[in-house]
């Protein structure tokens, strides 16, 4: 029973990161009208920046967190003109071109990470960020401080995002563009400007994810971005592309499934089993569990 509870907590904290990443990915899809497959790779880049800043400042947490969030916002907003240029026609999701831009961005970042930081070896985050003492431990399984934090911050961030989406002027414009870009343009919503706001907001969520992943995994490697990118894409498709509530449920579910497999079966097979589960779901519901909303 204790193992079960511990793995549920582990799973939810891992899941809350998938949720944050899937939400940022879906926001870009719905409002900026791009498929930013490599959005999680950009997030991992921010993790490296956090690591560099922590090393340079003698583990100053505040500066590290600030650097993570700011770099994520900047990296996202700076990529906006590239995507815009490639998408010739606003108002349509030009899947092919934005996918290629995003994948290219992912390759470049992964290569930079493996050439320019720590000789390509995985980086480890200091204990003052990750927490040294496990909250409790049962055999091989433990619940860390970072896991509880990531669950709490993830929950707050996602709630804040939904409040912003449903209670503010910008959120209303986001939803209007998500539902009907041409109609939103017609009522006078500045499409490009609002799109850039969505890049910035995805940047905020990406930056928070970067910190939370560091707290949860204690380390990062150049390949981490690709692995997360695959999972986030899978979560979004299984939930139904562009479906924010779906992304929330499926993201948490994937985290819990992975944790339970690690807790009760072979941990090293957790990715394979999780993807088999998702494959079955997508065969059963090709448009995702909650339906496509693009």
């Amino acid at each position: 029973m204790q193992v079960f509870i511990a793995q549920i907590i582990n799973g939810l904290s891992l899941g809350s990161i998938y949720v944050l990443l899937a939400t940022g990915f879906n926001l870009l899809l719905l409002v900026a009208l791009i498929i930013h497959f490599s959005y999680p790779v950009v997030v991992v880049f921010s993790m490296y920046i956090v690591w560099v800043v922590l090393n340079a400042t003698g583990n100053n947490l505040l500066l590290g967190i600030l650097a993570g969030v700011l770099s994520s916002i900047i990296l996202n907003v700076v990529s906006a003109p590239i995507f815009q240029k490639v998408m010739k026609k606003r108002g349509e999701v030009d899947i092919n071109s934005t996918m290629v831009v995003s994948m290219g961005m992912g390759f470049i970042i992964t290569d930079i990470l493996s050439h320019s930081f720590n000789h390509g070896f995985p980086i480890a985050f200091p204990e003052n960020l990750t927490g040294s003492e496990p909250l409790f431990r049962i055999g091989l399984i433990s619940v860390q401080v970072g896991q509880v934090w990531s669950l709490a911050i993830g929950a707050i961030a996602v709630s804040a995002f939904f409040v912003l989406l449903y209670k503010t002027r910008a959120g209303r414009a986001f939803r209007a563009i998500a539902e009907d870009p041409a109609g939103a343009r017609l009522v006078g919503i500045p499409i490009v400007k609002t799109g850039i706001q969505s890049y910035a907001l995805s940047g905020v969520m990406g930056g928070m994810s970067a910190i939370l992943i560091a707290m949860l995994l204690h380390s990062a490697s150049p390949g981490l971005g690709d692995m997360l990118a695959h999972k986030v894409l899978a979560v979004s498709i299984v939930a139904g592309l562009g479906n924010l509530v779906g992304g929330l449920v499926v993201g948490l579910a994937l985290g819990v499934i992975e944790a339970l497999i690690q807790g009760y079966a072979a941990g090293s097979w957790s990715n394979a089993i999780a993807f088999v589960v998702m494959l079955v779901v997508i065969l059963w519901k090709p448009k995702g569990l909650f339906g496509i909303k693009v």
């Binding site: 002027r169 209303r172 414009a173 939803r175 209007a176 539902e179 009907d180 041409a182 109609g183 939103a184 343009r185 017609l186 009522v187 006078g188 919503i189 500045p190």
Partner: protein, 246 residues
């Protein structure tokens, strides 16, 4: 409503002036050197068959469809190179064909989207819209897809009013509505006009449109072929034969 502003109070300059406007989609010339004028306080109707260019003209005025040549001036200023959101800020708005409201958003959200650029005055305009359309106040928390066709048209008009417009472009308001609802919509447009709103209307229901309009233009395959007062057009033999079924 006591306002007696009519077409006869034509000021020195037109509120909207379209001159020699040409628009093409690829090789198809949707508009060929079209010129129209709308004066403050008028209801002007664009008459024409499907594909004559009525919707294209309205969407180029709003800046959605780019033009190849010609000019569009509003309130004495060129607007033909401005982006849509700037043109909306200047006081032009469009009630789209097919009642293009945001179906999965609430009535209130739809109205507030109309006021996206002047939310500080939203309460004043909401109050007026709810006076015009009490049904919208009753349904303000419902999502728009639960509304009837007529109610959606009212929502689309209400949303336009939220943007503090001087000129309202209305594209085919009667499309797909029951005759009794069509009458209601035309009455509303007439009342709005008496309150001081200038209206440019595109309509296939020629008879009803000419009954409420001051003036009209006939569009055929992208060209203005005839223009005049509503009465002149109603009496024109060509218009009678082609559009009034007489």
């Amino acid at each position: 409503m006591q306002n007696e502003k009519t077409a006869t109070t034509a000021p020195e300059g037109a509120l909207l002036k379209v001159e020699n406007l040409s628009v093409s989609y690829g090789h198809i010339n949707a508009l060929k050197s079209v010129s129209i004028e709308v004066f403050l306080g008028e209801i002007v109707v664009l008459i024409g068959a499907n594909g004559a260019g009525k919707t294209t003209l309205l969407s180029s005025i709003l800046g959605i469809t780019p033009s190849q040549s010609g000019t569009i001036s509003f309130d004495g200023q060129r607007i033909d190179k401005e982006p849509v959101d700037k043109i909306v800020r200047k006081g032009v708005c469009l009630v789209p064909e097919g009642r293009g409201v945001f179906a999965s958003m609430t009535v209130m959200d739809n109205l507030l989207l109309g006021a996206h650029h002047n939310l500080k005055n939203k309460d004043k305009y909401l109050k007026r819209v709810f006076e015009w359309f009490p049904i919208l106040e009753q349904r303000k928390n419902q999502v728009a897809k639960t509304l009837s066709g007529g109610e959606r048209q009212m929502l689309a008009i209400g949303r336009a009013l939220m943007s503090e417009p001087k000129l309202i472009l209305v594209d085919e308001p009667s499309l797909g509505l029951a005759p009794i609802v069509v009458n209601e919509i035309f009455t509303i447009l007439q009342m709005l006009n008496k309150e001081g709103y200038t209206i440019l209307l595109s309509e296939q229901n020629t008879f009803k449109a000419l009954k409420v309009a001051h003036r009209g233009y006939v569009l055929e395959t992208g060209k203005v072929t005839l223009s005049g007062t509503a009465q002149q057009l109603l009496n024109d033999p060509g218009v009678k034969a082609a559009y009034l079924g007489a």
